[in-house]
Symmetry: D2
Subunit: 160 residues, 4 copies
Amino acid sequence: MAVPRETAAAARRRDLAGPVPAGAWRTEVPVRFSHCDPAGIVYFARYFDMLNGVVEDWFSEALGIDYHDMIGRRRTGLGFASAGAEFLSPGFMGDRLTCAVTVERIGRSSLTFRIHASRGDEPVFAARLVMVTTSLDTHRSIPLPDDLRAALERYWESCK
Amino acid sequence: MAVPRETAAAARRRDLAGPVPAGAWRTEVPVRFSHCDPAGIVYFARYFDMLNGVVEDWFSEALGIDYHDMIGRRRTGLGFASAGAEFLSPGFMGDRLTCAVTVERIGRSSLTFRIHASRGDEPVFAARLVMVTTSLDTHRSIPLPDDLRAALERYWESCK
Amino acid sequence: MAVPRETAAAARRRDLAGPVPAGAWRTEVPVRFSHCDPAGIVYFARYFDMLNGVVEDWFSEALGIDYHDMIGRRRTGLGFASAGAEFLSPGFMGDRLTCAVTVERIGRSSLTFRIHASRGDEPVFAARLVMVTTSLDTHRSIPLPDDLRAALERYWESCK
Amino acid sequence: MAVPRETAAAARRRDLAGPVPAGAWRTEVPVRFSHCDPAGIVYFARYFDMLNGVVEDWFSEALGIDYHDMIGRRRTGLGFASAGAEFLSPGFMGDRLTCAVTVERIGRSSLTFRIHASRGDEPVFAARLVMVTTSLDTHRSIPLPDDLRAALERYWESCK
């Protein structure tokens, strides 16, 4: 890649911290004692765990899809092929983080989306996740179920 | 970026799954029952937690730096500015993952490195982490401590 | 103890699953995907983590005490000398558990309390916790701070 | 119960911290950064998670039973009906805890055992766990599988 490394990193951070569409679904997540480490700030692995809870609520509240039924009864995995986050500012016990979900790409058997977390106006972290729908019997990817695809397309439209 | 999205993703995965230098430090991590989710495979947030344990042991065993003393007595944070992983193959209970650490860049107050995890010859996941040294009093970045920098440079040489 | 072991265990379970005072503070906790294990039910260690979140909210909502300020600014530890739970029925993804807090004993530097969790009318687990207030500088017990003691006594009265 | 409360508690703590048979299986567990909380000591829920890892290794190393195969292929749950611990001394980052397993009672479909954790000669915590074997299809208790029962009886003898 021709772009100098530092510039690319700065661009990525700016990009990730960028504005979230007004129509994006948002939820508020409390930072717990147990999320924090001996440095007194949120332990990075806990952010990823927090993100999965955000995804569960996004499914039920914004997409109208029952996340637990998808995995349980429908045996459709909703795991990640890729997960990354930029940590822009430390999170502290007692913070209440606003997390907003933005869909970036709806693929054949995958979904790329971002979650931006902020404390008031201040960005705290920004994550990009690639979720892949799989059969829980074979652990191979399967096409996005029709109801999930339709819900994602509606959500995409509503965020414009 | 001019590269088509799919091709870039494929390239990133190939890159991340690529060969690890023979001189890289390695450790073996068991996949526990508690690492796994109702889908029967390792829950992605647990991989990130697992990675921090790998980093702790890499510090003490390969770098000769006491990770806990750095954070505790020396009040120097070793948190992440960025963390990402590509999950290439599911991990199962009872797996023993070989994790290898490769330094990518030693900055002024940051360290970029990769951890490759494999089960035998099969890549399971590949992570890229940017660690930043901070003052635990101000939560601002500080230059890499001299002993850590020297150890990283020695490690870098030994991996060539 | 003269009581036969099995009878004592049965009594303990009956006791722990028993009625909760109408005045007890309650909160609802969702069972997340990440709380569950490959057996498809909540992993026991996650229940204990869940309990700490319940305690944090009980402090702020029922006692009017800022849990995070107590630990952070006031440097008063709120750790446990003892923690135990009886798991009466498995918890599943998507459950919403009602958790109720009952104070059992207010000591000089400790607090014994119970948390009962149920799904509708069905008891799911019952925990007994002994919290000890400590100095975070010495890790030795200190008397319950006056505001915490007063709040606990008010809560105790309100539960009668 | 006729025993005064405080005395009973003191007795329980003394009992739990008591001597472990010389023949008991032991393993060493490192206290990780991620095990610790903003108070700088091990977060109690993490101890319970640590205990499950000890149980897994005890199964494979001392009992000769494949824990993961039991849950995975054999669909036999090894969950807990009861779990409790007394925390006798705080655990710190970098500690290496010696954990010893003592069987207390082998029931029809349950196993009661203790895990004592110490740092050198100093007791850190003592846990009592009641594991119940269940069918993972019905989540109902089933008799201890014959190979597990035989292994537990051999272990019991070897600890005398």
